[in-house]
Subunit: 345 residues, 2 copies
Amino acid sequence: MKPLTSRQVILASRPIGAPQASDFSINEKLLNAPEAGEILLRTIYLSLDPYMRGRMNAVTSYAPYVQTGEVMVGGTVSVVEASNSPDFTIGDFVVGYTGWQTHALHDGTDLRKLDPGQAPISTALGVLGMPGLTAYAGLLDIGQPKAGDTVVVSAATGAVGSVVGQIARISGCRVIGIAGAQEKCRYAVDELGYHACVSHHSSDLKSQLAEACPDGVDVYFENVGGSVFDAVFDHLNVAARMTVCGMISHYNETARSDEPDRLPRVMRAILTRRLKIQGIIVFDYSHREPDFLADVGRWIRNGELRYREDIVDGIDNAVSAFQGLFTGKNFGKLLIRVSDDPTLG
Amino acid sequence: MKPLTSRQVILASRPIGAPQASDFSINEKLLNAPEAGEILLRTIYLSLDPYMRGRMNAVTSYAPYVQTGEVMVGGTVSVVEASNSPDFTIGDFVVGYTGWQTHALHDGTDLRKLDPGQAPISTALGVLGMPGLTAYAGLLDIGQPKAGDTVVVSAATGAVGSVVGQIARISGCRVIGIAGAQEKCRYAVDELGYHACVSHHSSDLKSQLAEACPDGVDVYFENVGGSVFDAVFDHLNVAARMTVCGMISHYNETARSDEPDRLPRVMRAILTRRLKIQGIIVFDYSHREPDFLADVGRWIRNGELRYREDIVDGIDNAVSAFQGLFTGKNFGKLLIRVSDDPTLG
């Protein structure tokens, strides 16, 4: 048997501001054969997500950060290539967190088997995976939209936002997206069924939002922060709900901005307009996974809910693809195809 | 019949920063006799509350602001002195919003009759009134404390805070107060049953809070804002709830502070720690009034819940007493005794 190796992307140094190629290195790691209870996984898809930027900082957050010299963390869909475990068979497809690498030895814990007959296996990292569940619970459990409400979604065509917007539309809401490129705005309306979508590149985002939301905003699903937050915030109605899911515009910030302190104004608005602002981390909603998979699975089969993937080939391109997340380069759920997907013809 | 007059406190000009005596004037208004359907009310107690500062600004908020030249708004307990209405009898006690004045002609709408045999009539402006209901709903409905939770209350001995702290204690929580004067901190612990109370005058508020809250903070009831908010915020646990009830430290602010923008850091904490921050205005909770009156009434009779009133005599002293609210001069619910309370021996 030839020696097993895994090609890995290693966090070499902690990025300051936007991640640079030089913050990473490629490592070829020799792997032993699976020991008793272990399996060998070949990565097919690696998910690239904004949260990963936070894991590159030496800041304790809701999950441990990545040590320099370690493989970058990340969700993956893999196939079992060798098994020394009674629970797995060669050819099984699994979703888990094996990181930015081509192969991994694994003890089988926290893996979920995938049935490629049910849905394309890549969707376990997107619309039927972590981003989809985030959207589902963040909108329904925190945002609590009622039919007729106006729902605004930033990063409207992203992995999370695209699901939020469509579930809001299915829930009978008026749904307004905020995206960057005009192409994404058109897609949001034409394909995802947003009632309108405005670009955060436009100089009058706030007045465009006012026009698109004549009755104000009842639910804001926040993925972006910064000036997008500012533009939406003043339109929030009394008793509006804001789900704080992401703040991608801040993730690469290194220094405090020169802006004046906005907190007192925001807090006063929370008080006088009785806003509810709540953060979501998907880990807290595993109890919602059965409902989520049933509902979103049905909506996909019905054609009520669509998804789009932006697939980049090769683990060596993971860093440059990840960099593009922060400039809106991707269009749909960003995935690295690390190796061939045998379920595709 | 001698002419009826009402001595009124008029908003003469809009305060810039802390309200000055010169922002107000005293007016003697001649009143007609009650017309059909009207009653004449003599004010016994006028409630002075921090929210009134907001009404002095020409800023549309959750309620209309006071026009210059108008009587200042305010909650009152009054007695009916003359009635031309079938619904009221001379001698009836009522709670309503008749403002900073000694007498008022009234059409009877939005008045609630008080039974002086049930509780001192002054409590309808405090522990059994608007501040009490604010505390009850803001803690129980928004804060949702569970037995064993750590609850922090700023303005811990104030009209709202004192009720919050005691309901939290009755709910089985560990309750930590923040107050100003040492005398208030002692009162919070000795009389109100807080487990500890720290002074916001101390230079190491944050470390004192850490010591008082070894398991972090699960519920923060915010009445103050500013540096008190900063001191508490970093101690909030994952899934903590923050009720935004007031921000008295900001109400007299005229200019933006020089502090850097704290909003991104706060939003990131909301996200990573899954905080829920929600504002409360008591108007939204009238449906909770029956439960509130039953529960708090029972706790007062049981001796489980105590209250303290800070009573200043004379409508002409309303302005100076109101000014004291912002420097912590009052100790307990601040009331003006506008005229004799006939229910007292």
